[in-house]
């Protein structure tokens, strides 16, 4: 497999919006790129967002364009379900060890879905943050690329796997697939492994995991999405009741020495956006309250903040709530705290509390080799700045391979 890449190849680790951008920008400059992604599909975390702030446009729209760029550009080679286990070497000459998990489905797959119909087992759906379940033979989501099913490893060796194999008319199910380890060469490595939401259960006073109606902002995003677990209905987990009166709690895990020291940048804007989802769903009956320390609607995001401030269904309280309790009878959440602008104590009852969860680096940078971090692997960034960052990282990678090429010639 060493031949799939050379010292002229740019290895991009991570197939989210940052990794795809770095890969495509380099490829469109004429460079050879190997894009490796741990999950079965490209698209990363942005594919799990319903809409972006501040335009309220759809992330899959940009994903579609990037996928089309990718489909038409043979400079990029994509490997999914491939995880980097080791990076060695130096600029111009890296040796990278990849571990490729078995997908149990080969390129014959047409995405017809017969395997999913045949399989009985269900597993939690990580593309909905495990809010619902899906078949153990699955296409991650409608925009998944490669458009190829996956057999979850949990059914390998079970009758379900055999059922899937039998159901496939195209010989696409290959139960003999094994985990592979391979080593590839690269001239430069772009590290675009993205972020993960901070573990909300660690923010104990907010009772995530103890109270059903305390959820995270990424989960809320799935609730609002018509393709999410509720079909886009903003309802609360405990009883499916419409959640009209919602508390959005900022700095859930961020700006906190007990959790993440940094500000995660995106959460204020995400919550401002979420208030508009609530408004769209429930009109004047919507009630959103944002509990904040500072609203960080930086630069021209201020326009969006201004728009939300003008929305009568949205209230702002300068306060980090001290704790959340549950009202047993109604299942409502009760936020206890103090509005510090002047000192007003509250015990505010809401249908649902949404924790604007902090952003944590998903995978640490390699210890032994220098790589170019891009996107949220580099810093807490929004999508726009992630793309900016990965475009810059692409150039840094190009500089290395060009230098190597000049040195060789």
């Amino acid at each position: 497999m060493r031949d799939i890449a050379t010292s002229q190849t740019i290895l991009v680790v991570g197939g989210g919006v940052s990794g795809m951008t770095a890969a495509l920008e380099a490829a469109e400059c004429g460079k050879q790129v190997l894009l490796v992604e741990k999950s079965p599909t490209l698209g990363g975390r942005t594919a799990l967002l319903y809409r972006y702030f501040p335009k309220l446009c759809h992330p899959t729209c940009g994903l579609e364009i990037n996928l089309r760029r990718l489909k038409g550009n043979r400079n990029v080679r994509v490997m999914t379900m491939a995880e980097v286990v080791r990076v060695e070497g130096r600029r111009g000459d890296y040796s990278v060890t990849l571990r490729v998990a078995p997908r149990f489905v080969n390129e014959n797959c047409t995405a017809c879905g017969a395997c999913a119909e045949a399989v009985g087992a269900e597993i939690p759906n990580p593309w909905n943050y495990n809010l619902n379940r899906m078949k153990a033979a699955y296409l991650p989501h409608a925009m998944a690329y490669p458009q190829r099913y996956v057999l979850d490893a949990s059914i390998a060796g079970t009758p379900d796997a055999e059922k899937a194999r039998t159901a496939c008319k195209y010989g696409a199910i290959d139960l003999e697939m094994k985990e592979q380890t391979l080593t590839v060469s690269a001239g430069a490595v772009v590290w675009a492994t993205g972020w993960k939401p901070y573990d909300a259960a660690k923010i104990q006073p907010y009772g995530y995991g103890r109270y059903a109606n305390v959820i995270t902002s990424v989960e809320f995003e799935r609730l609002a999405d018509p393709h999410g677990p509720t079909g886009g209905r903003i309802v609360r987990p405990s009883d499916g009741k419409e959640a009209k009166n919602i508390a959005f709690i900022q700095c859930a895990g961020s700006r906190d020495e007990n959790h993440l020291r940094h500000c995660s940048r995106i959460c204020c804007m995400a919550s401002l956006k979420h208030t508009q989802f609530v408004r769209e769903a429930y009109g004047e009956a919507a009630r959103s309250t944002i509990y904040y320390i500072d609203i960080r609607a930086i630069d021209r995001f201020e326009d969006f903040y201004r728009k939300v401030r003008a929305d009568r269904t949205v209230k702002f309280v300068k306060s980090k709530p001290a704790r959340i309790a549950e009202d047993r009878a109604s299942g409502d959440v009760v936020l206890h705290g103090v509005d510090t602008e002047g000192y007003h104590r509250y015990a505010a009852q809401h249908d649902l509390a949404v924790l604007a969860i902090g952003m944590e680096t998903a995978v640490p940078l390699p210890q032994d080799a220098e790589v170019f971090p891009a996107g949220c692997a580099a810093d807490a960034l929004d999508v726009n700045r992630s793309v900016q960052s990965s475009t810059a990282a692409a150039l840094r990678a190009i500089q290395v391979v060009n230098r190597a090429a000049r040195a060789e010639s």
């Binding site: 104990q204 009772g207 103890r210 704790r323 309790a325």
Partner: protein, 304 residues
């Protein structure tokens, strides 16, 4: 092998103190578990969190450091184990502060010199609960049970100072589980959804701000009733005293009929280990723990 510790009982748990039955039950429990607790000779008060207005900062640390120094001198190599939440917290805080600041350490030793002592910073400070969980373990605790506390529902009231700011390793501040686990280990029913688990009883302010504290206490007791508790169990002597003693006051002022026994975890273990009511300190309550007494007086067949 017998485990040995330097015991720091604290003012309330000493003989004739308001938590003397805590001491009794701890001794009984330790005997079963083969834990040897040797009181630090001539130990002094930790200063408690309420003495601040008179003490200032250094005096408080010096009080604790004196106990450490005595322990190092007379019981070298043994961890200091406190049973009282405030003693443990005060001691631990001092230790942390002194470890972090050389200047404070020097000042402390300068003062200690007046009492002819020196603190070498070797002491570890532990709570009795830590000894149970970390050094002995739930499995070992369970082994000695001869009278499982079947049929008794306990609301585990952890309170503040055994829980914050240090707490028991691996437990959360908002929902620590160890007390419930201890209850279950000795065969009782733990009411894990008890809401006031980590609420504050008012602490020392039960004296100075009785009405405000009694409001807290009332909620703590009522929440236990809500869960159908037979009794409350706690690791803290001040919590125990406040929550038990003031129920009568609350009843008098507000016409309520609170009558909820409040026990120490050590009493539960002692009874489960077969201790007689007196050995388990069950005679030290103003609200009688009827169901526990019933088990304690029951004669069990000798172990096979």
């Amino acid at each position: 092998m017998k485990k040995e510790y330097a015991f720091y009982p604290g003012c309330s748990s000493q003989l004739r103190g308001s938590a003397s039955n805590y001491l009794t039950s701890v001794n009984s429990m330790c005997q079963t578990l083969e834990v040897k607790m040797t009181p630090i000779p001539d130990w002094n008060c930790c200063g408690a969190s309420i003495g601040y207005a008179g003490s200032g900062e250094l005096a408080r640390h010096v009080m604790n450091a004196r106990n450490f120094a005595l322990s190092e001198k007379h019981l070298p190599g043994q961890d200091v184990v406190a049973t009282c939440a405030a003693c443990w917290l005060g001691a631990k805080e001092t230790k942390q502060k002194l470890d972090a600041s050389r200047a404070l350490m020097e000042d402390t030793n300068e003062a200690l010199k007046e009492a002819g002592l020196r603190y070498e910073a070797k002491t570890e400070v532990r709570h009795m609960v830590e000894v149970l969980i970390e050094d002995i373990g739930y499995e070992e605790i369970r082994k000695h049970v001869v009278k499982p506390l079947e049929g008794i529902k306990f609301a585990g009231y952890v309170g503040c100072q055994t829980n914050r700011p240090f707490g028991i390793a691996g437990e959360s501040f908002e929902n620590p589980m160890y007390l419930d686990k201890l209850v279950e280990t000795v065969g009782g029913e733990a009411l894990v959804k008890y809401e006031q688990k980590v609420a504050c009883c008012g602490g020392a302010l039960a004296f100075s701000e009785p009405d405000k504290s009694q409001k807290q206490i009332k909620e703590i007791v009522e929440a236990a009733y809500d869960q159908g508790a037979d009794m409350i169990v706690t690791p803290c002597p001040l919590c125990q005293a406040n929550v038990e003693i003031y129920q009568a006051e609350i009843n008098r002022k507000q016409g309520t009929k609170l009558d909820m026994p409040v026990m120490y975890y050590s009493q539960l273990l002692a009874v489960a280990y077969g201790a007689a009511p007196k050995q388990a300190g069950l005679d030290g309550h103003v609200i009688q723990p009827k169901k526990l007494q019933d088990i304690a007086v029951k004669v069990v067949p000798a172990r096979k």
